[in-house]
Every structure is written in C-alpha cells, then in structure tokens.
C-alpha cells in the first residue's frame, strides 16, 4: 500500500488515487456478481442436464433457464462500465 499524505499530495496524485478506488469498485462489481450468478447457475445447470438426459427436447428450455441468472453479472458489468467511463 502506498502511503499518501493528503495534505502534501498534489492534485494529480489525489485524482490518480480516486481512479484506483473506482477501478477496485468496478472489479468488485463484476467479480462478486460473477460469483453470485455462478452459484445460482450451478444448480439450475445441473437440473437442466438432468431433465435433458431424460427428454432431449428440453434442451431449449433448460438453456434459457440456465442463463437467466446471467442477468446478475450483466448488471454488475453495467455498474462497472458506469463507474469506469462516466
């Protein structure tokens, strides 16, 4: 960790520090939401494969159900993009 004394820091240093924090926030937004959707998809995926093993025509439905929690990570991605570029 770089120790910055705010009273002595220049404006550039402070701005760089803030950009770093924003990047960490963006990383957390994508990373945590990624883990969350993975946890949700784990069971749904297993169930979809189980159902498909018996009835192949359930492939389409199973696929859609499996990717529904994907929205969580997309929200995370959107938040990350907002943080980084706005």
């Amino acid at each position: 960790m770089v120790d910055i004394n705010l009273a002595e820091a220049s404006v550039e240093q402070i701005l760089a520090n803030q950009r770093g924090l924003i990047a960490i926030g963006a990383g957390l937004a994508v990373g945590l939401s990624g883990i969350a959707s993975a946890l949700a998809e784990k069971d749904i995926g297993a169930a979809a494969v189980g159902a498909m093993a018996e009835r192949e025509e359930l492939f389409g439905k199973g696929l859609i159900m499996t990717v529904i929690p994907e929205t969580i990570v997309i929200f995370g991605l959107v938040v990350a993009i907002l943080l980084l570029f706005l």
């Binding site: 946890l39 784990k42 069971d43 749904i44 297993a46 169930a47 979809a48 494969v49 189980g50 159902a51 093993a53 018996e54 009835r55 359930l58």
Partner: protein, 345 residues
C-alpha cells in the same frame, strides 16, 4: 469458497429434475380406461411400444401372453429403481438405497412363501423384483435352494438374518412381521439430521401410519385379540404413536372408528368407512391413494429434496400395480367395475 460449494442442495437439483422428467413419461391417467377395453395381446403390444419396450422385447423370446407382461413389469420396475441408484450420488443415493431395501424384504418373503407352499423356483422368480441390495443372480440362487437351512445360511450376512434365524418352516406371519419391523426400524435409524433426511423421516413415518391403519382395519374387522394386533403393528409412526396404537388395538370396532376421527387421516377415509362395511377394499384403495397424494403434495412443498424421488417411486410402483391389476382381472374375467375399484388413480 469450499464451504459455499459443499453446503446447499447436495446433488439434489440434478436428480430431482431428472426424476421429474421421468415422471412425465409415466402412463397418463387416460390410458387406464383404454387398457380396460383391450385384450391381453393388445395390451402387450401397447406396452411394447411404450417405456416397457426394452423389457418386452428382451423377454419375448422366453415368455408369452400373461407371463411376458408379468415379467416385463417386474423387470421394468427393478430396472427403474436401479437406474435411480445409478444416477444419484451422496445423500439421495443413500436414502434411496435404504428405501429400496423394501424389495429385499419383499423378495425374501416371496421366496419363503414359495418354499412353504412348495412352488417351483421358476414360479417364485415370477414374483421377484430385484430392486434392492440382493441382485437377481443372488435371488435366483436362493430361490433354487431346497432346504430352509440353505436359505438361512445364504442370508446369514444380511441385516434380515435375525428375523429368519429361528424359522424352521411352517407359518410365516411372525417372520413377515419381524422382517417388516426390521426394515422400518433400520430405515428410521439410518436417517440422520440434515434437512433432506428430516423430510424423508416425515414421509416414512406417514407411510408407517398408513400401513398400521391398514393392519388395524384388517385385524379389527377380523376381531383379533389385542395382543395379537399389537404384535402386528409397526412402531414409529407420525400420528399413531405407540400409545395411540396400544389404545386403538384394545377398542371395539365401532369405538375404533370413532377414535379415528381424531386423526388427520379421517378426512381421507371418512367417506368409505362405516360401521357396517363388509369389504375393506375401498378403505385400502383410499389409503393407497392418500399415500400417493401425500407424496405428490409434499414433493411440491420441497421441490429440491428427496421427496420428489419418493413420489416418483410410489407412482411408478402404482403404475405397475395398476397394469397388473387390469391384466390379471382380464385374465380371470372379472367385471370391469371390480377391476376399476382396485385401481388407485
């Protein structure tokens, strides 16, 4: 992270979804009235085009007519149950294994009964369902044994040995009771403390209740002595605890019926139960139906648990029993009305 992956639903999503898909392949209710209007060859052909195709095809060289159907049904049931064991892991697998020991008991009973009445091994094998821990080969070799001593020594390492250890031939009812008791006490003892296992426990306790109710109805109707009845009942039920069973076994027929009103099962059986009823067929059909409906109801409460699997096992068994009832009824020319009464739909 490991704790997040390890906890949770424990391999249930895969097996429950698969079992649900299997359940959707069971025969729909509309098929049974159609089956009632068919002859046995027609039914066999229909079965040969359905889920039973593989079994009918395999056995068609060896058997024909009623025998073919009978064997195909038994083989299909055993295969379905073994498939459940194959596709499950960990906790569900363990619970299914314990539950399927029911068929071990069934097979041992069948063999002993067959030996008691001097039936040939081939005939005994007709009624065997190799879905438990005893494999088909093992059962065949046991069924081919001549003396009770050989059968006993063949089963010496099984958990059921204590029930048959003292059997010397003759009346089987005590042995059969003992076997049932061993099965249920093992089943109850094997269930641990996880959520899935607790749900399983509730289901099995209800099953014991229903079994006890059937026994109570039969024995009360026959007017048996209190001590004899108590011997026949299985401890460990949900609503009918040992205390209730003790009380009920000493009541008279009419008091017994009145007493039943205190239990939740009454709402299911109240319509068919009356003091002057002569046949218990209706009550037993209603109780079977209650078991199936109960299983289906709780499987919706807890969709990712062992319960949908129990529900499927009950339904599959019921489907096979229904088809067998129809075929057997047709064979002996029973009127449709009576066959319909025996069906649990």
């Amino acid at each position: 992270m490991a704790f997040l992956i390890k906890r949770g639903s424990k391999k249930y999503p895969y097996i429950t979804a698969r079992v649900r898909a299997m359940k959707s392949k069971l025969m729909p209710r509309e098929v049974y009235p159609k089956l009632m209007n068919m002859d046995i060859p027609e039914i066999t052909r229909l079965m040969g085009e359905s889920e039973y195709k593989q079994d009918v095809d395999e056995l068609a060289q060896k058997y024909s007519g009623l025998d073919l159907l009978e064997h195909a049904l038994n083989q299909n049931l055993a295969r379905t149950y073994r498939k459940l064991l194959r596709i499950s892991k960990d906790e569900p697998n363990y619970l299914i294994t314990e539950y399927l020991r029911h068929w071990d008991i069934w097979n041992i009973k069948t063999i002993l009964r067959g030996k008691y009445y001097g039936a040939p091994a081939q005939e005994i094998m007709d009624a065997v369902v190799a879905a438990g821990q005893l494999g088909y080969r093992q059962i065949t070799s046991i069924a081919n044994m001549e003396s009770i001593e050989d059968i006993k020594s063949a089963l010496a390492n099984s958990p059921y040995y204590s029930a048959i250890a003292d059997y010397e031939g003759g009346e089987l009812s005590t042995i059969e009771n003992e076997l049932d008791k061993i099965y249920y006490s093992r089943l109850l003892a094997s269930i641990g403390k996880s959520k899935g296992e607790k749900l399983s426990l509730k289901f099995i306790m209800t099953e014991i209740d229903l079994k006890n109710l059937k026994t109570l109805f039969r024995t009360k109707k026959a007017g048996l002595d209190k001590d004899v009845i108590l011997e026949l009942l299985i401890p460990g039920g949900m609503e009918l605890k040992s205390r209730d069973l003790k009380k009920m076994s000493s009541l008279s027929w009419s008091d017994f019926l009145k007493r039943l009103e205190d239990y939740s099962y009454w709402s299911a059986i109240s319509e068919v139960v009356s003091e002057d009823m002569t046949s218990l067929m209706d009550v037993e059909a209603v109780l079977d139906k209650y078991a199936i409906e109960y299983a289906s109801k709780v499987s919706h409460y807890y969709p990712i648990s062992i319960l949908p699997i129990y529900d499927y096992m009950l339904r599959k068994n019921n489907e096979i029993n229904s088809i067998r009832t129809i075929v057997r009824g047709k064979k002996v020319n029973l009127p449709d009305e009576i066959i319909r009464k025996h069906l649990v739909m």
